[in-house]
Every structure is written in structure tokens, then in C-alpha cells.
């Protein structure tokens, strides 16, 4: 297991990357990205068996990750770069012309680490299930991970996939919902209250776990527990409480930072709260 202090340092650096990445083009989604920082750092620096130096589309023998809520690309790109998929310096090209770091993730420009385009919501769980079933056909006992927004769960395709996964006993998948309670037009309770999220997944036949997504020790412990539950005939869903905008006080807890960039002054204020632990790109 990785050193927790080291992982926390990486989280601080990733948060710096996120606010700087969205500041430069004055475009992007900092809120959800900041909230999911511990999740990504735990996955890529501790939990997943993967090979950043030699990325292959098929990822045979590797754990795979699919980001279904593609708009939180800043956090994913930062973690991919800092775990070795591509040069950290490339983070400066986010959302700019000719970049591989498109606004929403894509395979189209050949960015290592990305295996399917996402952005139009609700599609990633189906793709992850297909990859998981292909692993079974290939006798590859690695695990497929996926992340979804809580607002994204309003898409009907998610529930098609939810029903399928349990019915077909796709038990080599660990999915997570970023349960931050916010979406573009306001709180999820304001836009479309989703009732008892855990009960819905249980009713669809999933094994449901909970974790505080901003407590990295808990994230790691929950993932390690989830791994022990794979291969038992049930898909696994982790409902992960996070704070949107976590780590930057004026962005925390508000849907207003879902998809806007900080100005120069706000960038400065944000960076003062985020320690540089590795070199800035």
C-alpha cells in the first residue's frame, strides 16, 4: 500500500493542476474534478493494476477505468499525466486547439489512458460492462472500474445497464457514483430528487458500499474491501459522498462551480490554499 502522506501530497498537486488547467483556457469543470481528487489518486496510485508506460487499448491483464461523467476530465488528465501516461507538461494544452486533452475525454486524438469517449452522459456504465464481459471471455481476472456523476444517474441508459449487470452477474466491475448532490441547474434535490440512491441500486441487484470520497484512507479501505467482493456473482456500486469544489473554500458545496473557470484573482486565491508538492507543470 502506498504511503498515505505521499498520496495526500499528490492530491494537493492534482488540485493545483485542476484549477490551473481550467483557468488557462477559461473553460472547464473544476467543481466535480476537485471533489473526486482522492478517488482518482487512490485508484491510479494504489488500487489499480495498470501499466502507464505502455498503454494499450485492450489492456489485457490490467485493471481498466472508465470515466462516464466525462466533464470532470481535468482531474483525470492530471492523474493520468502524474502517474506516467503522458508528459505532465501536456496539461497546459487542456481545451486548446490541436490538443489531445479535449474538453471531454476521447480516444480520437490518441491520448494514452483513455479507452472510450465520454461527455454525453449515461453511456459509460454500458461500455464498462462490455469491457468487463470481454475480460471474462478472455479469462482475464482483472477488474473494471467506472465513475458516474449523481446527476448522470438521471439518464435512462444507466438503469438499463444496472439491470443488465446484475441479471448477467457481471461481478468483475466496481462502479462508483460521485454523490455530491449538485448538478448544473442546482442541487440534485432541486433538479430531480432521486430518493434513496442506495436502495435503488440494491433493488437492481447490486452490492452497495458507501464511502467518504474526500477521506483517502477510507477510499483505499473501501476499494480494498470492494475487491474482496468481486467474483461473487454481483456487481459492486460504491456511493461516494464528496464535496463539489473540495479543497478550494470559495468553490466548495456550490453547483455554481460545476462548469466555470476561476479568473486571475480567484486562481491566485485558490493556489494559496493548495500546496505545491510536486513541480507545477
Amino acid at each position: 500500500m502506498a504511503n498515505i502522506d505521499n498520496l495526500k501530497d499528490i492530491c494537493a498537486q492534482v488540485r493545483r493542476d485542476i484549477v490551473r488547467m481550467v483557468h488557462a483556457p477559461q473553460s472547464g469543470h473544476p467543481g466535480g474534478s476537485l471533489g473526486c481528487t482522492e478517488f482518482f489518486v487512490a485508484l491510479y496510485f494504489d488500487i489499480m493494476k495498470h501499466n502507464p508506460q505502455n498503454f494499450t487499448m485492450d489492456g489485457k491483464g490490467e485493471d481498466l477505468f472508465f470515466l462516464s461523467n466525462g466533464h470532470i476530465s481535468p482531474v483525470w488528465y492530471s492523474v493520468l499525466a502524474r502517474s506516467g501516461y503522458f508528459p505532465v507538461s501536456e496539461l497546459s494544452t487542456f481545451r486548446m486547439i490541436n490538443t489531445r486533452l479535449q474538453g471531454h475525454p476521447t480516444t480520437h486524438e490518441g491520448l494514452p489512458g483513455v479507452r472510450v469517449a465520454s461527455g454525453s452522459l449515461g453511456q459509460g456504465l454500458s461500455v464498462a460492462l462490455g469491457a468487463a464481459q470481454a475480460k471474462k471471455l478472455n479469462n482475464d481476472n482483472s477488474i473494471v472500474y467506472s465513475l458516474h456523476g449523481d446527476g448522470e444517474i438521471q439518464e435512462g441508459q444507466i438503469w438499463e445497464a444496472a439491470m443488465y449487470a446484475a441479471a448477467k452477474k457481471v461481478d468483475n466491475i466496481i462502479s462508483t457514483i460521485d454523490y455530491n448532490g449538485q448538478q448544473i441547474d442546482g442541487s440534485t434535490d432541486h433538479v430531480l430528487p432521486m430518493g434513496d440512491m442506495a436502495a435503488k441500486w440494491v433493488a437492481f441487484g447490486w452490492n452497495v458500499l458507501h464511502m467518504d470520497g474526500n477521506n483517502i484512507e477510507e477510499v483505499i479501505a473501501t476499494f480494498n474491501h470492494a475487491k474482496t467482493l468481486t467474483g461473487k456473482g454481483q456487481p459492486i456500486m460504491i456511493i461516494m459522498k464528496t464535496g463539489m469544489g473540495k479543497g478550494v473554500d470559495f468553490m466548495e458545496g456550490s453547483h455554481k462551480w460545476h462548469g466555470i473557470a476561476p479568473n486571475d484573482e480567484q486562481l491566485k486565491a485558490a493556489l494559496e490554499q493548495l500546496q505545491s508538492t510536486q513541480a507545477d507543470y
Partner: protein, 316 residues
Amino acid sequence: MQYTSSGDKDTRSGFGEGLLELGRNNPNVVALCADLTGSLKMDAFEKEFPERFFQIGIAEANMMGIAAGMTIGGKIPFTGTFANFSTGRVYDQIRQSIAYSGKNVKICASHAGLTLGEDGATHQILEDLGMMRMLPGMTVINPCDFNQTKAATIAIAKHNGPVYLRFGRPKVANFTTPNQPFEIGKAITFIEGTDVSIFATGHLVWKALQAAEILKEKGISAEVINIHTIKPLDEEAIVKSVAKTRCVVSAEEHQRNGGLGDAIAQVLAMKMPAPQEFVAVNDSFGESGTPEQLLTKYGLDTADVVAAAERAIARK
């Protein structure tokens, strides 16, 4: 190419036979179906390769996503459902998870067009070729009979990239040769002629061949070319034929907007402008009826091809 009808067979059965043969020859071929296994003739594959057959249920969006995911790991997924549910219902899933993502998924679509018949307009998609050919990187194929559908099914497994394969429900003349080679993007000339070029796809190819015989009796020499691949289009074959005949008829079981005729007109406008007549549905939905009644009512019958050829020639 030689042609003679060996009797009536449905194109979807050609797909079913092709898929079964692929299953036997390529262990990476997997099949997914959204509760239409019998209609798509996928039951033989399911029976012989149950571990490679995935019953998705009535959830086409999920099916497209699962198919995209299965390519990661080297599988070659063939999805099967009606053409309407293979395209319009899941356009965004195909666009993002398959086409934009460059996934090697074969979208196999039955019951396309008016000849679905009695089920009516809800199921008679006439816009699918247009939707699919607009997607960058998508190969779009509409074979004309049982034998060609079987050959196309086998051929697309060897092509690395997304493919839309469209076929139909009714039994129609099976007139191309069995076990024919199928080359994606290569037009097939059935009849050589000098007065008019008739470019046809799908079920309309047989109508075009019948029309050519009637035209011949009228002293008109029609060239009949089967465009089974709408994208990539065999521009060379089209331009070469029109250079000779100087007028065009396009024939398809699809809307005028977005279909084969549109694709041909675009090529000719840029490379060899010529009078063109369209045998296609003209901005209308279909309705219930027998396939033959519908083809007649909506202007897609042999007589309509003949009339279109005469109009095209008159405009030279």
C-alpha cells in the same frame, strides 16, 4: 456480373447464415441481440455459441455501449435489432461510444424500410442510411439479396472499424451468386448500357434489373449498377458510368434526403454534373400494408424506375 433468380429468400437469413459461419471461423466474433433473436435469424449462432451470444433485453442503448466495451479486449461484436432501433433510437450512443471512439462494432439492422410491411411507420425507418453515413468513419452497407447479405456479413468482420449493415424482412429474389466475393466500397455492374445509369441499393436492385428489361424492350439501353456500399461510395464507378450515359437514376428504399441518391448527387455535382432522377420516398412516413403494396404506393416499384429513367433521358 451474372444474375438469375434462384427463388425468394429474406436478406436477414443471409445475415444469420453469415454470422454462423463467422462464429465457426473467428473466435473473437460475439453477437448481441435486443430481444429479436428469431427476427434477426441469430438463433443458430446462439445455439452453437451460447458463451459468445449476449441477450441484452429490450435495451438498445445499453447494447451499443456493451458492444463498444467488448471491442476493448479484442472482440468483434455484431449487434442485432431492427433498423429503427439500431439507428434513430441509439444515435448518440453510436456517435460517441462507437463512431467517435473508433470502435470495431458491426451494427446489423434488419426490417429496414417500407418492406417491413404491416407493422407500419413506427418501425419502417427510412432515414437510417442518412444518419449513418453522416457519421465520420462509419462504413454503410445495404446488400441486395440473401447471397450478398451473407457475403457482406462475412466481409465486415475483416474490416477494422464501425460498420452499419442494413437488410430487410421480406423474402425477395435471390439473384446474386452464392459464396460471392464481397469487396466493401466496390460497385457491381449487373448490366452494361449506354443511355442511362441506374444506381440501386438494397431491395431496389432487383426492381432496377426488371426495369432494365422493360427499358430494353422500349429500345433504351440502361446500365444497372449495384451500390451495396453507400459509404465509402465507389465514386470512380459512378463517374465512369455517367461519363458514358450522361444521365442518372438512383433507386433506394429510403428517404430522398440523406440516402444513396443524395450521396451520388454530391459526387456528380463536383465531378460530372448530369440530370438525376430519384426513386426514393419523398419526405414522407410509411404506413401499414404488404411490402409490394407499399413499394407501389410510395413510388419504389419497377414501373417507377422505368419512368424515372425515361425522365432522366429526356432531360439530357
